[in-house]
Amino acid sequence: MKNKVKKLNVVLAGQANVGKSVIFNYLTGLHQHIGNWPGKTVEKAEGTLWYKGYRIDLLDLPGIYSLSTYSIEELISREHIAFQKPDFIINVVDATHLERNLIFTLQLLEMERPMVLALNMINLLKEKGLEINFKKLEEILGIPVVPVVAIQGKGLTKVLDKGIELVEKKIKPKPLKYGKELEERIEILSSDLNKLDLPYPKRWVALKLLEKDKEIEELVKNKKPEVLEKARELSLELEKIHGEDSSIVVAHERCSLVSQIVNETVKITKPKKLSFNERLDNLTSHKIWGYPIMFAILALMFVSVFKFGNLLSSLLENLTLNWQKIWQAFFGTSIWSSLGWTIIESILALINLALPYIIPFYLFLFFLEDWGYLARVAFLTDNLMHKIGIHGKGFIPLFLGFGCNVPACLSCRIMETERERFLTAFLVTFVPCSATSVVIMGLVGQFLGIGWALLLYLLTFLIILVLGKLASKILPGEPVELLMEMPDYKTPNLKTIILQTWFRLKEFIFIAGPLVIISGLIITALYQTGFIFKIAQFLSPITVKWLGLPAIVGNLLIFGILRKELILLMLATLLGTTNFSQVLNPNQMIVLSLVSMLYIPCIATIAALKKEFGWKKSLGITIFKIAFAIIVGGIASKLLNL
């Protein structure tokens, strides 16, 4: 008989900043796959490990604070647990913030799946003057509690052992009991639900009905509307007793139950002394000092990434300088040969973007995130971001946009709702990326002086401000207010940072690569057949009449769709000189730079937008930007030529 490998489906669940991804990386290493949940802008991280004869498929659920329907992440998580019925759940909890973490643990328990509590960061308890009675906690919660130090890998095998034991012995946890008034009503509703075929546990559905959860109300309404009536009646009774909305009554009950548990299991052993990390927090979030420090850190990041990037990038360019000639020596200069070369050139261009710029940028970013600094940035810039219709967390994608719009669009996932994500991504596409900066600096900066270049940047910020304000008014739905945990500073974990960077890089290449190559082929074919000049001719009423630019610009703008810096490179190629002042007067330089900044997201950015928001919205942004650039460019041209 063949010894078949037994499979287990396990999920990691927990709030943000509890070290969930550290555990995930530790257990799965490079055996992981990061994608999106089908049709959602939410990241899905899956990995595999083999342990004691089991093949364990591990899923890292998004970091969330509850199982309601406030955010897409929460909805996805609870549906996954209910429908996929994982063999067991590993609830990762930050031991130094037990009280807040347990609020979520109670909700997970209510899903009635086997569960292990991984009590992380126990090495920090002493420093914080805390002591936890693990045995007692285990007794009260009724599930295995395993002390863990994730960054050292301590306790992780025990977590798996305990989980496997639960599966083998078929032990399911029991949800904890709330106050009498609430419990009575849960019981009435649960028994009413008894005969219904529901994917969720009955008690949980009853509780959600009392919390007035829209999705669950809908679900029950379709099956047995009288239960919904009953639930409304019972909610009203609760509201009469407690004088607050029934959903708050439930939340309140949960909070007091957790307080009670913490009182019984946690001892504060010594008065708190200000640690180094807390002093650091006080300084970096300071109402005055926080800003120059933030400016210094971000400027350092930017300057060092670009200095390093430019160096490496010119090194790479020199290295591949002769490759085209070598290629042509072998394959000639036929159309097929140039198409073949285009593929190589596109791949080189991707490498030349990824190695010098994207990798260092990501390393820096994930370092700041893992350390805990990004939350401070969001805190300090919240007010500024409100002016453009989003909140503090949106600063990070916008800032990233200066490097490359692609990772910036992908990082819009940190916003809470679909609306904020789309709005932020829309604004990101207006941030001049490093390639756009090449055009501005190479044209306006070089020939008209840095002052004019800065003026153009200033104009872009103004445009972002106005468009943000307008878009947040027009887009349906309420703007979301900032509500964010400020994580404690901690020693950054190198492995987490490197793995994060690696998976993000892979994602970038998969998204951008195919489209960059395909569109490169199309444009080369257009160029080789001379068709591109016909298109430029066709565009001339816009480029020549309205924008006041030479007809050749039509070609440049088509090439610019591939990569913005091609606008400048092709101009040099077509002219045979880099002295652009021969063909463009100062006004034309300004207009061309402005149009280059605004007119279209590059093809890789369009691909990223498509991945996050679908074709419709990404084309919507693209068309809007083209129209907007034509209007603004034309107005600028008319004003400059007055």
């Binding site: 009280e99 939340a251 805190f379 919240d382 007010n383 509500l483 945990e485």
Partner: protein, 76 residues
Amino acid sequence: MEFSLLQAKENEKLVVVSIMGGRMATKRLADMGLVPGTKIKVLRKAPFGPIEIEVKGTKLALGRGLATKVFVKYEE
């Protein structure tokens, strides 16, 4: 006397009295452990920006709009 959290000063120790927001806002705050009766401490306020408080040993940043909906009183 209760007043809005936005008017609180740094280092003040307070108790949440009520939350005057929609159900969504109230629920979000409750998930973070902020319900009526919870003791909080104001850690810092960014200039015209969000307000940072300590709830149950955790630091939370609340946008101004959200802070106006949280009503508090001094701890006795």
